[in-house]
Point group: C2
Chain length 199, copies 2
């Protein structure tokens, strides 16, 4: 898990790589979800994450160049650049996938039908001020064991928290990205919207 409390320019090389890896995992899931739900809002999240990824990759490259003093340094650091470049490319292609939503084309039914062939789905929901979740920690909610829903990321304004820890406390205006079965997702939406107080 990592909280993007810092802007990329204040992060060290390792923090940047952690962030890039987290984004690469989330962005692939989101790209497929944007098509599945024909959702421009999710496609926009993908674009935003891809911009963040580019910035992170730039900051990582700068740090890598500055850190290379000896030939040994340079050889080891070139590995990091290779991995970072591959991670960045994954996110580029995830954006290519979600672009068919942004381009406002009719999504070919073969594509959307294919994406339905999975037991678990990703969804995106804005926490309502009335939700029981507000003020509760992820541990207290026991969402995973009770309704089979996992929170994979939280967006607060422009900041993202990936794989929030058990201590994470839900707050007003959190935008949540979650993964769960169709049944779990329906229950979770009721909870997040403040229309259900027990689960």
């Amino acid at each position: 898990m990592s909280a993007m409390d810092k802007r990329p320019e204040y992060m060290n090389l390792k923090e940047i790589l952690v962030e890039m890896k987290n984004i690469s995992e989330l962005i692939v899931d989101l790209a497929y979800s944007s098509i599945l739900f024909d959702s421009e809002a999710i496609a926009d999240e993908v674009s935003g994450l891809e911009d963040t990824m580019d910035e992170l990759n730039y900051q990582l490259t700068i740090r890598a160049l500055l850190a290379s003093r000896t030939r040994d340094d340079a050889e080891q650091i070139s590995e990091i650049l290779n991995v970072a470049s591959a991670i960045n490319n994954i996110s580029d292609h995830a954006q290519n996938i979600s672009e068919i939503v942004s381009r406002d084309l009719d999504i070919h039914s073969v594509i959307s039908e294919s994406l339905k062939h999975t037991d678990e789905k990703i969804f995106r929901i804005q926490l309502d001020d009335l939700s029981q979740l507000i003020g509760m920690s992820l541990r207290e909610t026991q969402l995973a064991s009770r309704i089979g829903v996992t929170i994979i990321a939280v967006r607060k304004g422009n900041r993202w928290i990936y794989n929030p820890r058990k201590q994470y406390v839900f707050q007003k205006e959190d935008l949540l990205i979650a993964r769960g079965t169709e049944e779990g997702n329906l229950i979770f939406k009721e909870i997040a919207k403040g229309r259900r107080s027990k689960w």
Copy 2:
């Protein structure tokens, strides 16, 4: 979920796309895991999946070309080719990530440290003939709710089953790819190795 019971040459366009999407999600997780565990065995799985992906993409392209009779067909089908190409590229780059393991380089500590920053980890385990799991369905085992471990794929010889359904029955020689917390993974390994019969 999809069982790769069929060889790609007997699958229809939708089945191929489902398979490609499933592989693209699994391969990114596996690529990071190969580095995390410095495991050539996992890096080899990544290579094998990437070969399968290439074959699927080829078969999809052939079907797409044959299916395009009118201009409307062609426009819609070109979308499918774009998405398939992006999916295929994701798997190429996942392989680039795991290649640093196959190349037998010392993995730079910054890279492996970065990958540890996650609560849930992927692991790969071969089911032992003595394991209690053999003959049980995924539903009966209740692995997800009891020990927090999710089976994300099963390999039987050269075939893969992604996101196995609750009805899936464990069999001798299954190679399992699972995701769970460190604690869950340790318990699961004991179960899979036949060293633990209750959980």
